[in-house]
């Protein structure tokens, strides 16, 4: 029996008359590499917004590490260990790359112990992710892939148990995708559970141990990558009849 880290039960989210999520349930296990896929508009980002606390779900519950977090604001969830990267990078533009990392280090990782040497820790994370040479410049001087790496580095700086990577590879070249994948594998090897949301099938299939497929706000399939590829419902959702 492996521990369940994240337990999503019957989550419903509406926007006015539009039901974006109609009762989605899923479990993510401790240390797992978990893939979340689905066509555009299927509710992937809405679901992770509900998990990270950016949106509040209307009904259903979300439990993290055995604790009900359904009503907690986003910053509390981050402090408990849920970090995310954004699909469209949202760096702190007036700060240097290093300072960008100091915010989550100071506010999430060391929220209850002031005086930690956050700059040193930030530098270590930048080293790990390969952004150390850019530490002193502002994000406006970064390339597209460096911007994605900054998103991941900043999420790492929150010292998460669960990292949600929201399309961190969209628009990158094949070599760059491998670069990001390598980083995610390395993080997972350090014990961090990872949810990957991605349209690049090659990446998701290679990375994930288990995949959940969403379509029109409902879970239509769940299983190992090879069973997902063979699944008729998934093929229909992506390609039509």
């Amino acid at each position: 029996m492996v521990d369940v880290l994240l337990d999503v039960r019957d989550v419903v989210k509406r926007f006015g008359g539009f039901q974006a999520l109609s009762g989605v349930s899923l479990e993510v296990r401790q240390g797992e590499r978990f893939g979340l896929i689905g066509p555009n508009g299927s509710g992937k980002t809405t679901l992770i917004n509900c998990i990270s606390g950016a949106l509040r779900n209307e009904s259903g519950s979300i439990r993290f590490a055995g604790r009900d977090i359904t009503t907690l604001p986003a910053h509390r969830r981050t402090r408990l260990g849920i970090a995310r990267s954004f699909q469209i990078p949202k760096p702190f533009a007036s700060m240097t790359v290093l300072e960008n990392l100091c915010i989550p280090l100071e506010y999430a990782a060391h929220a209850h112990s002031h005086g930690a040497d956050v700059a040193k820790e930030a530098m270590e994370i930048l080293d790990l992710i390969g952004l150390a040479p850019k530490a002193r410049i502002t994000p406006s001087g970064l390339t597209q892939i460096e911007m994605r790496k900054l998103e991941l580095a900043r999420a790492m700086a929150a010292r998460p148990k669960l990292l949600i990577s929201d399309e961190a590879m969209a628009g990158l070249s094949s070599a760059e995708v491998d670069d990001i994948l390598e980083i995610l594998f390395a993080l997972n090897a350090r014990g961090i559970t990872i949810i990957m949301i991605e349209h690049i099938m090659r990446a998701v299939m290679r990375f994930s141990e288990r995949i959940v497929v969403l379509d029109a706000g409902e879970k239509i399939a769940e299983g190992a990558p090879d069973t997902i590829v063979a699944n008729k419902a998934v093929e229909k959702a992506y390609l039509g009849e």
């Binding site: 915010i103 100071e106 900043r154």
Partner: protein
Amino acid sequence: MRRFAFLAGAIGVIALGLLVTRVVDNQYYYFAAYVVFQYVVLATAWNILGGYAGYVNFGSAAFFALGAYTSVVLIQAVTTHLVVLLVAGGLVSGLLGLGIGYLTLRLRGVFFSIATLALAVVLQTMVINWEYVGGARGITVSRPASLPLFSNYVEFLCIVMLALAVGTVALARWIQRSWLGRGLAAIRDNEDAAECMGVPTLRLKLVATTVSGALMGIAGAPFPYYVTFVEPSAAFDLNYAVNALAMPMIGGTTTWAGPIIGAVLLGTAQQVATVTISSALNLLIVGVLLVLFVILAPEGIVGLTRRLARQAA
């Protein structure tokens, strides 16, 4: 070392002010300097919310006037002690800041600004219809007796306002360099990302509106003693709202030094213009400068000098 230098500078500024009162006798200078120091407080207070956190407050006059009218009520009913008036003005305007923050900070960007604009109109209407504080006619306040060290009361008020300005700047500087300032900067840069990185955005914004409002109230508290005749149109003057915003924008909003530079430059220019040309020219000067800076140097004088220094290097 830098902390020591700042402390020494702060004490030096107040000591210099006291020294000047021994030498200069022309009362006009104290009358004019009071206004400049008052704008240092207002601009710095505005900047804590507007510059650090990126929430533009158009209702500075409301917080300022609330401080002034809190003093009027206290002078009428309880006490004439200036320290009590300053504390009360700060408390009441701080509470207003907290309340407005709680009601409006779920509104982002320009909607927050519109709400603060409405606040000033609502408060002014209330004061106009409140007979106890003079209503629309205004009310005359008599100053306490002059103090032993100063040749008259305006001189004393001027030094008090100077001390308040120094204190406000010290607080703003501390905020800017602390975890609080870094959190506010994250909110200004990207509020969604800040919240997701563990920053308690709502709580930090409430701290900013409360501190900013309280400081504006403190700036307004001595106002009745300064003018001795308080009327709504003077206390809620458009000048306060415009200057509180324009001075940091012109000086530079991201550091504590910006609002001082803006307030001293603009405040002095306005005082000179009032004497030499006309008092109606003030808003025109501010307006033209603001437009020029927003277009040519959006980071203000501080940002402009940094850019030039970098180019030279």
